[in-house]
Every structure is written in structure tokens, then in C-alpha cells.
Amino acid sequence: MTELNLGTHRTFIPEQELMFLADEPVVYHCHHFNLFLDQTIDDGLGAAEGTLLRTEAAAEFSYRLLKNLCERTNADTPPERLQLARELFRQLGHGTLEINADADGGQVIGTHLHYGFAWQEKYGKKVKRHYPADAFAAGFSSAAVEIAFGLPQGSLTAKEEQCFALKDKNCVFSLKRRVPPVLDGAPVDAQSTLAVVGPPENGIGEDVIQPIAQGLKEFTAGVAGDERGLVQAFGVFVTMQLTGYYNRVSYDAVRRIEAKAPHSVGVLEELLRESGHVCVFNTFGGILLSPEWEGLVGPLTDDPLDILKWSIAIGRALGMGRWVIAEFEADRRFVVRTSSSYESAYYRTRYGLADRPVEYLFQGAALAMAQLAHRVKFTEKPALTPEYYQSLFKGGVPWQAEQTRSIVCGDTFSEIVVTRK
């Protein structure tokens, strides 16, 4: 078995800025996004159904990733495959797993798990949690054991019995055998993605954006979890995460709410957009304010167009798609387009065309970039605290975002127009 090095298995679709790990679509996202998205799913479906959906989504896409990686690294025996799974989990920034299980099930102990650990860090002093937080680790664990012992996908269930977010010492998962369900979701990989991206475009400031994006890609190629299995950088906890997880939990939740409480769809979509907003504001802002950024690009300015160009470069490097600045008028209007997004790639592959734009991350991100560009005095090096973030909403957000074109609706690109209210 060859040693796992994420950088050697990471690829981008040229000029589309979509990232893959062993052919599975992935993206970098921070704990703000991860926690808010999971919370939104549970708000919509309830804790039990939300946790189950998140666990199943994690298992589905982890299984595919692990299968591909085992083949690429020649991990053939159960111990080798379990070792690969542990190492993969750590390098992705999800924490540390100790797997004590075989084909009949068993137990997994997790420490410093991204979701539970970050939840405790962000919310633990403010609210008490009543149910476990680590559905992703649960699903990943069941998939790891299935792959290790050559079981069909879905042969194991995983349940988190103890959780750090509930103030338990560690996270403990029990794995049990079951009759595997029929899984009928179409695979979403590089090939299916290529079929639903538009022709790549250039926008304003490409001479700045492209080299920075390339530099950031090279920088992130070496990023992996520390001895805890966490990636702590730029003021956030970062994961390389399977986009299938994000997409399945989001779109399954929307479809279920459409069926059982259609009047709640709007508010669910609003919260899904907020996941993108809180992510981009904190992560992009944190990257811009970091010493690493200054080393790579140089000193910050307060010119909104500079901030937008840099933000677009960050979005591309993190694998969010080929974002371009289509139009810009300082303090009035910002139009961002993309010929590709991990959201549209999944949606089109699994569901076909939609009756309305559903690229929630892209929508929230566009608004957040406008806010970063116009409301943050970067030269004053502000601390992007929760209080700072909340202050953006006092008196109302002075910007509004509208998605005017959408790949999921059949357009060749997606477009968000952000205007001053």
C-alpha cells in the first residue's frame, strides 16, 4: 500500500475550478458553513430525521471516495484499508478515528471531530446541545468498515452514542449490520460534471485573479489535518469535504420540505443561503487578513474591486467554481458569474433541470463578497469575531442579491446580481 498524500490525488477540471479527490468532487469549507448547514437541515427535518439524512449522505459519498482511494493506493487488506480510512479522515481535517470493528459491526471512537469540536468551540458556551453532532463521522465510519471488509454499500448503520458536543469526553459510534438498502442516486463525478458545465469565461481582473488562484491552489495542496486531525487556519477550522454530502443533505431537505410543508421552503432556502454567506465572510475575510495572504499577494487595500478580485481568486482556489466578475460599479452593483459550480453539477446530474435557481452557496457567497468589499476596512485589520459578524445585520443589510441566470435552469452560466438597496 502506498502512503496517502491528498495532494497527489487532488485534481481540478481545467478552467472550471472544480476540485476532485480520487474522482470524487470535493471543496474546502470552514466550520461556520459546516455547522450552519447541518443545523439548517436539522431545523427543517427535526433532529432525528436530519441526523439520519446527514449520516446516510456521509456514508454514500465516503464509500465512493474510499473505494477509489483503496484502488489507487493498492490498499487491499482490511487493516490496510482501515489505516487508509483513518489517515484520509485526519488529512481531510475531520479529526481522529479509532476503528474497532469488523464485518459484523463494532465501535468507533472519535477525538477532535470537526463538527462536534467546532460546535463546542463556537456555540458551547452559549447553548446546550441535546443530540450528537457528528453525523458525517458516523457515515464515514460505516463506509470505512464496509470498504475494509468488502461489504456492499449500506451494509452497516452507524449511530453516535456519545459526543464531545454533549460534553462527553470523546465521540463514540456503534456500527451494526443491516440488509443494505437499494441505492439509486446517479454518481456525480468528474465525467458527469463535465457534461453540465458551461464554456469558461473571463471577467474583470483576470490578470490578478488567475495567478493568485494558482498560488493558493499550490498552497492548499499541502494542507492536511494536524496531529488532532484538524486544519485550524485563518481563524477557522477547515475541511476538505465531499460536495456530495453538502448537496444531498441540502437538496433532499428542500425536496422533503416541499412535500410536507411547502410554505417553509422559502425560509429553508434563506437559511441555506446564509450558510454560504457566513462561510465566505469569515473564511475569505480570514484568509485576506492572514499573514500568509500578505506573503503571497502583498498588503491589503480598502478598494472594493481589489477585495472582490481577491475573493474570486479564493473561491476558485477552494474549488467553488469558475467565478468571474462580470460587472462592477463601486458601491452600487456587482455581478458575479460562473460556468461551473459544485451545486449545479450535482443537481443537474441527479435531478435534471430545476424550476428555479437553487445554487444557495453561490447566492450567499455573492452577497458576502459584496459585504466584504464595501463594509470591512481591511487596512484596519479588524478581528472577524461573531460580534463583528452580527454587526453587519444591525439596521439591515444594505445589499441585496438576485440570481438572474442559472445552470440548473438550463442557462450556460449562473449569475448573481448584487445591488445596493
Partner: protein, 191 residues
């Protein structure tokens, strides 16, 4: 005749601010702060009311409650004294941290006497419970700018209706309150 908090505390040395909160709804009534302070009284007033309420309940549980209770908080950079005027108002005095406690108490006592005369005698009239539940959520929810949306999604009550919570039916109020408890991780709401 003294007509404002500013007049009452004029000349009190080392005082950074005073905030008067009407109970039981924890609403800001009046305030004064030094020119160089950067907090917003509206952001603070409700928490002072909650603090006194929690303190009162705690002392009652200890069989130690008295109307003369006072809460003193010594933080890194300020000294805070909270006192009640009857059960209608909570007054928070914020002093510089190094102010001698004896001087603080002296000025608090003197100011409280004047404030008790100045503040109106009110017939306590609680606002509808739904309004207080919504306010409590806004005060204590993580990410408060999304709290009402979360409650709408959890409860299934339309967001527009939750923006006018006084219009909720008793059944809807019960569901709304449960969703707020879930969001805050609380068994009951201390309203």
C-alpha cells in the same frame, strides 16, 4: 426639577454610564453614557433585566431574597452595580474598574434616591407572552439575525406571522415557544 438620568448622575466621578430598564419586559427606559463609550444602551438594557430576574430567583431558591438586593460585577475593565427600584425598574451603574467600592455605593445610594422620585409610578402591564418569547430568542439565540427564520422552519409557522408574534393563536404560541426552547437548548424560558 430633575427630569433625566443625565441630570441625576451629572458630576458623579468615574461613572461611565447608567442604564434604566423597565421590568418585567426588560425594555430600555433611559440611559446616559460618557461621550467616549462605544456600547449601545439598547443592546445592554434587556440583559440587565434578565440578570436581576435570575438573581432574584436564585436568592429565592436560597431563601435569601430581599427587596434591597444588589448585584455587583467586577470585570476586567468595569465595575457594574445593578439595583431595583420597586419591581418596576432595574438601574445599572457602570463605573471605571478602579473606583473605590465605598464611593460607588455612596453615589449609587444617592442617585437611586433621586431616580426613585423621578421615574414614573407604573402599573405593571406585561406585553403578550409571544412578544416576550420573540425578544428572548433575539437576545439569547446564537446567530440572532437568523433566529426567527430558524424558529419559523422548526415550528412550521410562516415567518411573516412570527414577525408579528402577538397575532399567534394559543396553539401556535405553544409551538413557537417549543421551537425557541429547542434552539436555545432550554427546558423552560425564564421570561
Amino acid at each position: 426639577m430633575v427630569q433625566s438620568v443625565q441630570q441625576v448622575v451629572a458630576g458623579v466621578p468615574s461613572l461611565r454610564g447608567v442604564i434604566v430598564t423597565a421590568m418585567p419586559d426588560c425594555l430600555l427606559i433611559d440611559s446616559w453614557m460618557r461621550d467616549n463609550e462605544n456600547w449601545a444602551s439598547e443592546d445592554v438594557a434587556a440583559y440587565f433585566g434578565d440578570l436581576i430576574r435570575a438573581n432574584r430567583e436564585g436568592l429565592k431558591a436560597l431563601h435569601a431574597w430581599s427587596a434591597e438586593m444588589e448585584v455587583t460585577i467586577e470585570s476586567t475593565d468595569m465595575l457594574l452595580v445593578l439595583r431595583e427600584i420597586s419591581t418596576d425598574f432595574v438601574v445599572g451603574f457602570i463605573f471605571e474598574r478602579a473606583t473605590p467600592l465605598g464611593m460607588v455605593r455612596l453615589h449609587v445610594r444617592r442617585s437611586m434616591g433621586i431616580l426613585a422620585e423621578m421615574l414614573p409610578k407604573v402599573q405593571p402591564e406585561q406585553r403578550p407572552r409571544a412578544l416576550r418569547v420573540a425578544d428572548f430568542l433575539a437576545r439569547y439565540a446564537p446567530d440572532p439575525h437568523t433566529a426567527l427564520q430558524r424558529a419559523a422552519l422548526r415550528s412550521g409557522i410562516p415567518l411573516e406571522l412570527l414577525k408579528s408574534p402577538e397575532k399567534l393563536s394559543p396553539e401556535q404560541l405553544e409551538i413557537f415557544e417549543r421551537s425557541v426552547q429547542d434552539i436555545l437548548g432550554l427546558e423552560t424560558l425564564s421570561l
